[in-house]
């Protein structure tokens, strides 16, 4: 037992080292690309590696849309499910929901991709009269399904942990159920729910396989820019499609690492944004 504390410190410093090493690797591996292509590639719209054109904008916009759609659907659905299961229905139904969500969370992403390919795409194709159904909307919907369990489970835990004295104090004041929910339960649970949303967003940002199968992988700007019904590209599906043939050390490889760096930066900035907003509120 005498070694417990040093051991814990050792493990923690190893983790800290890893946290620093991964971004460092991304910066280092993408440095040749930034040096040769310049920062203006961020606004370039043409990605043709064989012509040394590395416009990043279509994939950045694609990733952004896919995540926004996923969060827009999964947050209300997940939080609503958590409210109903923890506050309104019997505990046995709640544990059944929890178990269902845990099963959903454990399904590998390729399976979600295939579900998307065989069920979602024909559905989208028929309902919007599309050419193939491959689209950012499809990617967003699949991602929503994939992050829903995370948001639901975290929200359920968060609501359960609101202390019963708070709850009873609210009730003894004669608050209506709506007031109790919006004035007591959700504000108390919000930091943990936000944690769940951030984790879910991380998963959605990094998800490659499922997105790759349904997004169409077409490196072209959506026209108009809010058109999410066309085939498009995300940063992850581009990395997934091209990393195999990009020779280690080539500009192409470095450009794909730059896509990874961008994903990390997008994740970081959304997380910082969430922090500052919540601290102010």
């Amino acid at each position: 037992m005498i070694l417990l504390k040093p051991g814990l410190y050792l493990i923690t410093s190893f983790i800290a080292l890893l946290v620093l090493a991964v971004p460092f690797f991304l910066v280092q591996a993408s440095a040749p690309f930034w040096a040769s292509a310049g920062i203006m590639v961020l606004t370039g719209t043409e990605w043709f590696p064989y012509e040394m054109l590395f416009g990043m904008l279509p994939a950045i916009i694609g990733s952004t849309w896919a995540i926004l759609i996923a969060l827009f659907i999964a947050i209300p659905c997940g939080v609503a499910t958590a409210i109903v299961t923890t506050e309104l229905v019997s505990s046995s139904l709640a544990s059944a929901t929890r178990m269902g969500m845990e099963v959903l969370a454990a399904i590998p992403s390729i399976v979600y991709g295939l579900i998307g390919l065989w069920l979602l795409l024909p559905l989208l194709q028929a309902s919007f009269d599309l050419l193939s159904g491959h689209s950012l909307l499809a990617a967003g919907l699949i991602l929503a399904l994939m992050i829903l369990p995370l948001i639901t489970l975290m929200s359920m835990d968060a609501l359960k942990l609101v202390s019963s004295t708070q709850r009873e104090a609210g009730m003894s004041l004669g608050l209506s159920w709506e007031a109790l929910l919006f004035r007591v339960l959700l504000p108390q649970a919000w930091p943990a729910i936000r944690g769940g949303i951030l984790l879910a967003m991380g998963r959605a940002l990094g998800e490659t396989m499922a997105v790759m199968l349904v997004v169409g992988s077409l490196d072209r700007m959506p026209e108009p820019i809010m058109n999410v019904l066309q085939p498009a590209q995300t940063l992850t599906s581009r990395i997934g499609r091209e990393i195999g043939e990009a020779a280690f050390g080539s500009i192409h490889f470095s450009a794909l690492m730059a896509c990874g760096l961008l994903l990390a930066l997008i994740g970081l900035s959304i997380s910082l944004f969430a922090h500052t907003r919540v601290v102010k509120a």
Partner: protein
């Protein structure tokens, strides 16, 4: 004491397993690359493993570009490619890698069943090029049904894409602004074409089926279908060799496997999968 007993039993068991293992070394070879070549190699690997149980061969796809890159980076012993190596790739492989053609194949221009039955059974290379350049966008313009064309392009790393784009668009890396989707493996492309009613794509000859029809190519007024006969006589315009890459100093086991592919049995597998044998 109980724990000690269990530990000693496990130790005995491990020693026993090690001592009864045959003296000759097991060898695992890894083949990687083109999903066009893959069906031949994976079937041959199974047959080869049956004949030589101490040699296992794992096979994975990724595309010709991936297979060639795997050879350059020494991550596989056997590379599979459905196209010729580019001059840059060749420069890195020249000294130490043998490039062996084990079969010949056609890149078929495929359309959805509805398009084929709607009347589009043959096209010229120029017409196909105009589809992929975005100048023809409806099957009606080609005498087919009134439906928008879903033109499917392939990942840049795919050998099928190289061979197709070189024959149709004049350059292996030519842009295809008329394409509305990018697919990866033969499997993925086949699934998309089969599911659509209005698709055109490029697939190896061995991947055609009822829902995925290969169309004939018009050459000087004659429609030439992607059949083994037309590949053999050299009339079909989009054909290619299927290549195996192997290091010159590869292990005897890897050498033996390549010999097996070229043997009567191996070439029989080539034929069974749907390609043209070279011997």
């Amino acid at each position: 004491m109980k724990h000690k007993n269990i530990l000693s039993i496990i130790a005995c068991a491990i020693t026993a397993v090690i001592s009864i293992t045959p003296v000759y070394a097991h060898e695992t070879l890894h083949a990687m690359g083109s999903t066009t070549v893959m069906p031949v190699v994976s079937e041959a690997a199974t047959a080869f493993h049956k004949a030589y149980p101490d040699i296992s061969i794992t096979v994975s796809g990724g595309g010709s570009g991936v297979g060639i890159a795997a050879m350059i980076q020494h991550t596989a012993q056997i590379g599979m490619a459905s196209r010729n190596t580019s001059p840059e790739e060749q420069a890195k492989l020249n000294e130490w890698v043998d490039n062996i053609v084990i079969a010949r194949d056609a890149v078929a221009v495929v359309v959805s069943k509805e398009v084929y039955l709607g009347g589009v059974t043959h096209l010229s290379l120029a017409q196909i090029a105009r589809i992929y350049r975005g100048q023809i966008t409806n099957w009606k313009q080609l005498g087919g049904p009134d439906a928008q064309i879903l033109a499917i392009d392939k990942e840049a790393s795919r050998g099928t894409r190289h061979v197709f784009a070189e024959a149709v668009l004049g350059n292996a890396h030519a842009r295809a602004p008329g394409a509305s989707l990018i697919s990866g493996s033969n499997n993925e492309e086949q699934a998309i074409v089969a599911r659509s009613h209005q698709a055109i794509g490029m697939l190896s000859n061995a991947w055609l089926n009822d829902r995925v029809r290969g169309i004939a190519i018009d050459m000087d007024g004659v429609a030439i279908s992607p059949t083994l006969e037309q590949i053999r006589n050299g009339h079909y315009p989009i054909s290619r060799g299927l290549h195996i890459l192997i290091a010159k100093d590869a292990s005897p086991a890897a050498r033996a496997f390549v010999q097996f592919l070229l043997s009567e049995k191996g070439q029989g597998i080539v034929k069974k999968v749907g390609y043209l044998p070279v011997h």
